[in-house]
């Protein structure tokens, strides 16, 4: 009998604690879905294999959407001279829009673009429209004297255009597109 009382006491105590603490938080309204990057209602740009020239402007246009609330986004453009591939590209004719000889080292005259953008709060749907000019020249520290800056022509070739998009909850969606500068 004593044993039963003792056991019931412990079980009861544990249940009360669990339920008591549990009751404080409701967990039905949490955002469990990633945001989406698509072309709904817009003509998406840039698209795979698109060719630009140095001095051109990339008119970025994509539609973002989330079931709860969008967060922020980032656009990054990096050289793809080594021909790595991204799973979010439309992969089918990828090989055709790449140069022939892959390079192992990233040249220091490769154009690097990396910029983050805020989306106004409270939106579930947003059209990102950004103008990105492609520089004709790259400024970099001189090899002989790193304090001195020199300018060189922008390296032509394969680049990747990447969009990263978050929602308010911290889910992230990525989209990568292969583009070309020059040639």
């Amino acid at each position: 009998m004593k044993k039963n009382i003792f056991q019931s006491l412990i079980v009861a105590l544990m249940c009360t604690t669990a339920l008591g603490l549990n009751a404080c938080g409701s967990d039905d309204e949490k955002d469990m879905a990633k945001p989406d990057i698509n072309n709904r209602g817009v003509t998406e740009n840039p698209i795979n294999c698109q060719v630009y020239q140095p001095g051109d402007t990339i008119y970025v246009c994509y539609h973002f959407e989330d079931d709860t609330e969008l967060g922020n986004y980032n656009i990054e453009i990096h050289g793809n001279f080594d021909h790595h591939s991204h799973s979010t590209e439309s992969n089918s004719d990828e090989d055709e829009c790449q140069g022939i000889e892959p390079e192992r080292q990233l040249p220091d005259t490769a154009w690097v673009f990396n910029q983050s953008y805020a989306i106004p709060q409270g939106l579930r749907s947003y059209v990102a429209q950004v103008k990105i000019p492609i520089p004709k020249e790259i400024t970099l520290p001189s090899k002989d004297n790193p304090q001195q800056l020199v300018t060189r022509n922008t390296r032509l070739g394969d680049y990747h255009f990447m969009i990263r998009l978050t929602d308010r909850a911290g889910w992230q969606q990525l989209k990568a597109v292969a583009i070309k500068v020059g040639q």
């Binding site: 412990i10 105590l13 404080c24 967060g71 192992r104």
Partner: protein
């Protein structure tokens, strides 16, 4: 007097590692009861025999069979311990009572202990701050290597291998005793090739990676361990000193590490056994000294330790953002020294077993290399505790204790070694501010052990804590291991945790006398755990330097769960076993209110049957089905994981070659059906790498 005898008897059980062994027919109800009555914590103890028989490739994988214990795969076939869903700095790993101090915060940093030198393991599933201070929130993995040899000379040689990553290893041990003096020496050498997974390609951070012959490029590695111990074991006085060194080197999966996921000049597919860049090597040197003195009702123990953990992570120098191409491959180097001193006194008076102690620890960490992740720091902590264990009656023991800790941390400032253009200036950005923090923590614990008839009931309630680590306080930079920007929070308070856990254990009387009798053992271990301020790395919606910002915050967290197991011994030959576990976790405040915690353990259950026999030495064959539920309780950036089940075989046999020589063979075959599945609690889950396919581990040991 009776109490003293009982205590002595229990101590004897504790020291002799072969008496209380799990899942072995030799465990009688009485021994089981004795072990259960020793402490009010939920705990499991395994001896050398269990470790030997259940050898599954590595110590953590061997221990993974225990309810509530998981091995978190961190790559290269290595794993980290997780107890009831908590790992990293939320559990303490101790070796002979001294907390092991490496860089345990790291996602791909392993145990750095010679697992073949371990005699005995005890897993405490719950807060154990009273004895171990900071970090022992989720529990303690206590490893013991201090078994005192009884024979003038004995030893063993073990050869082992694993099929998945073509691992081969050798471990040798000699030990002996002359009068009261004894010695022990161990060495272990392990070599393994690239880890194999049942897939041809994986996706990581949107990159599409094709695998060569289903191998994770550059995950080969090696390990070299050695230790020497000398000691004196008298009746009243015992002293020993142990010097050990553990070195390991292993490659990082080349496609999912470093600044850019890209090709390199290295031809990784040339050989599956070489270690190219990127890779890590770590050397852990440890000197441990234990001295104890005992007379009548009083005993005192002094432990002193020095540990040096030297780690390097090397990768191909690549320019990134505004960082120019670094001069060499040394991306990160950490040199951490830890000095520990523990003084403990035990005193038995009337029915009370009193215990008190002081502990002090000093850590000194210096970094170098071109990749910044944690700043230099020094941390000092001091703690004092007192506990009483009161034997009310033979079958009712209560205990209580409290502890006070004081810790100081000095984090050094750090600025980039390269300049970043800000406006029209070029500045060296500060990544970590110089800061000094101090923390005080008061912790306590109380428990009861009660046995009546075939029942043993235990309950323990306690508070534990964890001092924030410098990474949580001072990080401010890109974590290239996982492509995110991590920002520390200098305002963090010590993490506190309250836990109530219980153990209900029942052993039947022999049920049927035919076929040798049937004995049933049932155990249920429920727990409730509450954190008023869990330190959580929160994924935000912001971008910093082109990467998603993760920011350290604190949130209320509730967790509860249980482990249950039932074992049925039928006669001398058959044993059936069923076990399961469940864990629930919820963040109850903060930006992720309503979400679970990262790497939430899904429910799982194991059903196994074992045949034991004795033909010129003990042997067994066992078949086990491991069933794991799906996990949809996730938090960004995780993905839901489907459930799975695997079929596993284990077998072992002892052969008596002569009265002094024994040969034993252990075989473990995992995932017999070669199923492809993902483990939600594996670090590799985040990068879409499935768990290994069929894998066979074999160990042959010769004891003399």
């Amino acid at each position: 007097m009776i109490v003293n005898l009982l205590t002595a008897a229990l101590m004897a059980v504790a020291v002799n590692d072969s008496t209380v062994t799990l899942q072995s027919v030799t465990v009688s109800g009485q021994q089981r009861r004795n072990y259960q009555m020793r402490s009010s914590h939920s705990s499991v103890q395994v001896g050398r025999e269990y470790i030997g028989h259940n050898f599954a490739g590595s110590l953590m994988q061997t221990l993974e069979g225990l309810p509530g214990v998981k091995a978190m795969a961190i790559g290269s076939g290595q794993s980290k311990p997780v107890i009831r869903g908590l790992g990293f700095n939320r559990l303490a790993v101790t070796e002979d009572g001294i907390k092991h101090e490496g860089q345990q915060w790291g996602d791909d940093h392993g145990l750095e202990i010679d697992q073949f030198a371990i005699d005995r393991v005890e897993v405490i599933k719950g807060p154990a701050a009273l004895l171990y201070g900071s970090d022992a929130i989720g529990g303690v993995l206590s490893l013991y290597t201090n078994h005192v040899p009884v024979e003038p000379f004995s030893g063993s040689v073990q050869l082992f291998g694993r099929s998945n990553n073509e691992q081969v290893g050798l471990s040798a041990k000699v030990e002996g005793r002359k009068g009261n003096f004894f010695y022990r020496a161990n060495t272990t050498l392990i070599d393994y090739a690239d880890y194999r997974v049942p897939t041809d390609s994986i996706q990581y951070y949107s990159y599409w990676i094709k695998l060569h012959r289903q191998r994770l490029r550059n995950t080969a590695g090696c390990e070299r361990d050695g230790s020497v111990m000398l000691g004196y074991a008298g009746y009243h006085f015992h002293t020993d000193v142990r010097l050990s060194d553990s070195y390991s080197k292993s490659g990082f999966f080349a496609n999912a590490h470093g600044l850019e996921v890209r090709l390199s000049d290295i031809d990784y597919d040339r050989s599956r056994r070489d270690i190219d860049l990127p890779h890590q090597w770590v050397n852990h040197l440890k000197v441990l000294s234990h001295t104890s003195w005992r007379t009548g009702d009083l005993s005192a123990e002094l432990s002193l330790a020095y540990q040096n953990n030297l780690r390097e992570e090397r990768s191909e120098p690549i320019s990134h953002g505004y960082m120019p191409t670094p001069p060499d491959s040394r991306e990160r180097r950490f040199n951490k020294s830890t000095y520990t001193g523990l003084l403990g006194v035990r005193y038995a008076v009337a029915n009370h077993a009193l215990r008190g102690g002081l502990s002090t620890e000093h850590q000194h960490n210096r970094r170098s290399g071109w990749g910044f992740i944690i700043p230099d720091f020094e941390t000092s902590s001091t703690g004092a505790y007192i506990t009483d264990r009161y034997t009310v009656r033979d079958n009712l023991i209560v205990n209580a204790g409290m502890r006070l800790d004081y810790a100081r941390t000095h984090i050094h400032g750090y600025e980039d070694w390269f300049a970043t253009p800000v406006g029209d200036k070029r500045v060296y950005l500060q990544r970590s501010a110089d800061q000094r923090r101090h923390f005080t923590s008061f912790t306590w614990s109380a428990g009861v052990n009660y046995s009546v008839g075939q029942w043993v009931v235990k309950a323990n309630v306690g508070k534990s804590f964890r001092v924030p680590i410098p990474k949580e306080l001072g990080a401010d930079g890109v974590n290239y291991h996982i492509f995110r920007y991590e920002r520390g929070n200098a305002e963090l308070d010590p993490e506190q945790s309250y836990q109530l856990d219980a153990t209900f254990s029942w052993t039947s009387r022999p049920l049927a006398s035919r076929c040798g009798g049937v004995v049933l053992e049932v155990q249920l271990e429920p727990y409730v755990n509450y954190f008023p301020n869990y330190i959580y790395l929160n994924p935000t919606s912001d971008y910093v330097e082109g990467l998603q910002l993760y920011h350290y915050t604190q949130a209320r967290v509730l967790r509860w769960g249980f482990e249950a197991e039932a074992t049925c011994h039928v006669g001398r030959h058959w044993e059936a076993h069923l076990q399961g576990e469940y864990l629930y976790a919820r963040q109850q405040s903060g930006l992720k209110k309503g979400y679970t915690l990262p790497f939430s353990t899904p429910w799982s259950t194991d059903a196994g049957v074992k045949y034991l026999f004795d033909a010129k030495g003990k042997g067994f064959v066992g078949l086990n089905a491991h069933v794991v539920g799906s996990q949809h309780e996730i938090v960004p950036p995780e993905m839901p994981t489907d459930g799975y089940w695997t079929l596993n075989l284990s077998a072992g046999k002892d052969f008596g070659l002569s009265d002094r020589m024994r040969l034993n063979v252990a075989l473990h075959a995992d995932n017999l059906l070669n199923r492809r599945y993902y483990d939600h609690t594996s670090y590799y889950r985040l990068i879409d790498v499935p768990e290994p396919g069929r894998n066979i581990s074999v160990k042959v040991g010769l004891e003399f």
